[in-house]
Symmetry: D2
Subunit: 305 residues, 4 copies
Amino acid sequence: MVDYQKTIEEIHESILREENKGEIASYIPELAQVNPEKFGIHLLMANGKSYGTGDSKTKFSIQSISKVLSLTLAYKSEGDSIWKRVGVEPSGNPYNSLVQLEDHKGKPRNPLINAGALVICDILVSKFKDPAKEFLDFVHSICSKDNVGYDMSVAKSEKSVGYRNIALCYYLKSFDNIENDPEEVLDFYFTMCSLEMSCENLSRAFMFLVKDSFKTTNNEQLISPKKADRINAIMQTCGFYDESGEFAFMVGLPGKSGVGGGIVALHPEKYCIAVWSPLLNKKGNSYRGMKALQQFTTKTESTIF
Amino acid sequence: MVDYQKTIEEIHESILREENKGEIASYIPELAQVNPEKFGIHLLMANGKSYGTGDSKTKFSIQSISKVLSLTLAYKSEGDSIWKRVGVEPSGNPYNSLVQLEDHKGKPRNPLINAGALVICDILVSKFKDPAKEFLDFVHSICSKDNVGYDMSVAKSEKSVGYRNIALCYYLKSFDNIENDPEEVLDFYFTMCSLEMSCENLSRAFMFLVKDSFKTTNNEQLISPKKADRINAIMQTCGFYDESGEFAFMVGLPGKSGVGGGIVALHPEKYCIAVWSPLLNKKGNSYRGMKALQQFTTKTESTIF
Amino acid sequence: MVDYQKTIEEIHESILREENKGEIASYIPELAQVNPEKFGIHLLMANGKSYGTGDSKTKFSIQSISKVLSLTLAYKSEGDSIWKRVGVEPSGNPYNSLVQLEDHKGKPRNPLINAGALVICDILVSKFKDPAKEFLDFVHSICSKDNVGYDMSVAKSEKSVGYRNIALCYYLKSFDNIENDPEEVLDFYFTMCSLEMSCENLSRAFMFLVKDSFKTTNNEQLISPKKADRINAIMQTCGFYDESGEFAFMVGLPGKSGVGGGIVALHPEKYCIAVWSPLLNKKGNSYRGMKALQQFTTKTESTIF
Amino acid sequence: MVDYQKTIEEIHESILREENKGEIASYIPELAQVNPEKFGIHLLMANGKSYGTGDSKTKFSIQSISKVLSLTLAYKSEGDSIWKRVGVEPSGNPYNSLVQLEDHKGKPRNPLINAGALVICDILVSKFKDPAKEFLDFVHSICSKDNVGYDMSVAKSEKSVGYRNIALCYYLKSFDNIENDPEEVLDFYFTMCSLEMSCENLSRAFMFLVKDSFKTTNNEQLISPKKADRINAIMQTCGFYDESGEFAFMVGLPGKSGVGGGIVALHPEKYCIAVWSPLLNKKGNSYRGMKALQQFTTKTESTIF
């Protein structure tokens, strides 16, 4: 039987001994100040057992990882109608590319690239009076409050320089795929991305995608197994921007990364794992995080493939 | 417990009652003559039990499905060096697009689009004196001879009009990513695609990708579990051209389709299933085949997600 | 000797007899109300003789034609340094495409597509305290005041729905090719495009690009012959969006069109001619305007080629 | 009055004193052996006066310059029907790009990029029993025989490595825009490009595009003034690949370059000028040739703008 605590500690140590490469996401001024040596891993099993090492309880900006949560809230609230406005295909392009929108008349390829996440935000802005509050309540319902919240200084910092996301949102609007005022959608988008969570929080929050664990903190079923399947499928094919194929190939789990250096990944029958290390590789995914997950699924022989 | 025979028969019948939509792959003269009403399903379980219905024992042209087999032979023979010449990312473009090659200096996005399969063919042409014979021997080693072979009239028919594949091969050559004479590579490519197999043959042949079943007909281990994982990962993210995300979303299994109307898909721990119905949807995948597999994983609750 | 008055009247009449095809630029609410049957032609010779017919003295929104004037003001003020930020190549894409910016790292292909005109506006916003006033003074210096001015209701109308231009401006900002607040640049851009002039005004205003006529209303040399040459060259290769080649081919003069239905064209040694008819062809150029100019250069045998 | 002989000699000398930059077209083995220091200029006036300096009488491979001559022969023979199969718009892409064909369903943007020239060759292959002989006869009819002919060793050399052109031709065939056997079209294409002419020959041959000089060596009118206009317009907007705008901007004449280092340019009312220097800039146009022409139109104030 695998000693999971020992496994993640060994991985943590062996990676710490190697050079830490990559760049911090310096385009967001507030994120540029994060200590690049932070490194945490947290593992939560379907049976409820929990294992952590390193900075696994330190909160960080989850950034794009939040896109899976906003997608879940929208999918839960609006059902399959959301797929009229956003696709489920990998993009084969960088996360913030505007090019494919021109080819596809403003329908983003999937909900995990920035353009698609903006459309999902627009759906939530249309649905809820106070989408930021509603989204936070939703997050609390799946991971416990535990000080999980927005860092509005990060949200502001990002909006102040988020020109490409602003461009994307107006571009979508020009194709009539944003219903609300773009400024309102952008405000919610940047707020949502500023969510702060630790590896421990993340592994708990994404447990609703592990079979037989689809429960909120109130013990209610969050979404149907079919919907969970599909969110996992989208994470598998689209969760790592233009490195999604590589992640499936090297790690072999559905997952999602953020420019804050976090990655969450899960085996739909076994566990949810979250890692955090701020330096990013050229495709914008955590350098050490990718390594850690690759070693984990290799050692535990637990890819989904 | 699931009655698999009954399940696939029910699916077969219910789909037969609905309208059969789509187009036959008429651009290949020989394929255009296939009866569009053919429809077979074959399921092979990890425990060796086997279930078939409809035209499950009729041979058809597996076309692009053969690309997984040639990839396997090249990966087995040459190891990870093949990834220098071909990537593992979904393309976000039609199967025969030349556009991305220009952006990526002649390195195809993955081995399952035509450009990538041509590079794999070139690797096999470099490796083997008689690649067509070697490839067929390899196929026989995983599915029994059973009259499995090339249909050279299809190969010729396809070459006579395969201008875009010829263009792709010369284009790759212009980027120095074809080592041999393009004509020789194309001959092998069209021959390989002309392989004829039934659903029963296919489900047997792909069994080496189902865990604990990685054996040839001589009871030798074909490839390592790690390599099988990775081939499954590539099928998951790239197996259905520009509909790979949709297949992951709707069906939830690694798989591969061909313009002959065949699809093979598998659950890495449970089974391998093959379907065949010649009419293709707009993305080039079997209309009824997609439906059948979607119903199968829904009824049996057996996606990998 | 050509009777120019008779020539333009004959062209005007013959085109009036034919069906008037195309679409009005309805995406700008204020412009959608223009009478589609308006049709004017005005010709001004290098020797000062002037000929008009139809609605040649009615003012209309010159829209993109103003981009040549803002380019001229920037080129005159800043010299060749402007070419560091914008190119001189035809784009081969629609006027409002964002695609090429991604390929060229935010350097627009030329100053007559929207992206390039926004960069020119940014240069003028950096240069002048009140760029809208400065630009209008400049226009008055080359065509007489004569009630030539902005229509702020058109500017507002366009800004209220100009999502793609807003997207373009923020996109350029994301590449650091906009120095100022995008909102300020956009305000000036929409104001500049709202300039109202008649065919008579336009033919007078562009006379500075006809040799030996490079004079302002104060009899000062506006720009050097070399600079005039180059602006003419840019109009020739880039003045009609993705129909620039067609205009060179069919008409054979440097020129510029606007979505208000105006076109100005000139022979650098002989004359300047302006036409106006609001219905636009599929590429966004005046349907009747293109026809009138083609007939004019054919009848007078006066292309530059 | 301008002393043309002195002018071209001064330009020749001043450029010889500067560093000679760029790369020889080494991808064609036979061309790689050309002496990079060769440099000739020849000027032929509408009045018949002729001026030469440097290597103006040395023959070289005119390569893509021949595309204007094949276009002329096809336009003369088939009239405006050729425009159904090839456009007249600048491409905004490198000369050998395949990308735009995919967007435009196999209709090349213009007849001067490789794809367009292949379509023109196909038209001539359909028209003539022996297109290579017919084309050479046509060339002789406009420049005198004078040993002007093909260099079949260059044609063979180019075909042996011309993978991208082979790819282009099969790609066009896949869109049904090549009627004949691609191999036959390619043979004629490479033969046509191997034409050897001197600057003196070239300036004579293109004289049919200078007004009042539209005569063959038999004193027949070659093409109508309207057709000459249009060929000039196409050269102006499309003659220098992705540097056509720059050539219009810096030189200001219709013209055409070839990878052999030759450029021919003309003023439709005044003269035809040809230059040759083998080193090419990054866009594939002669480094010294561009400089020489820019100095010539500046000194003589004779752009068409």
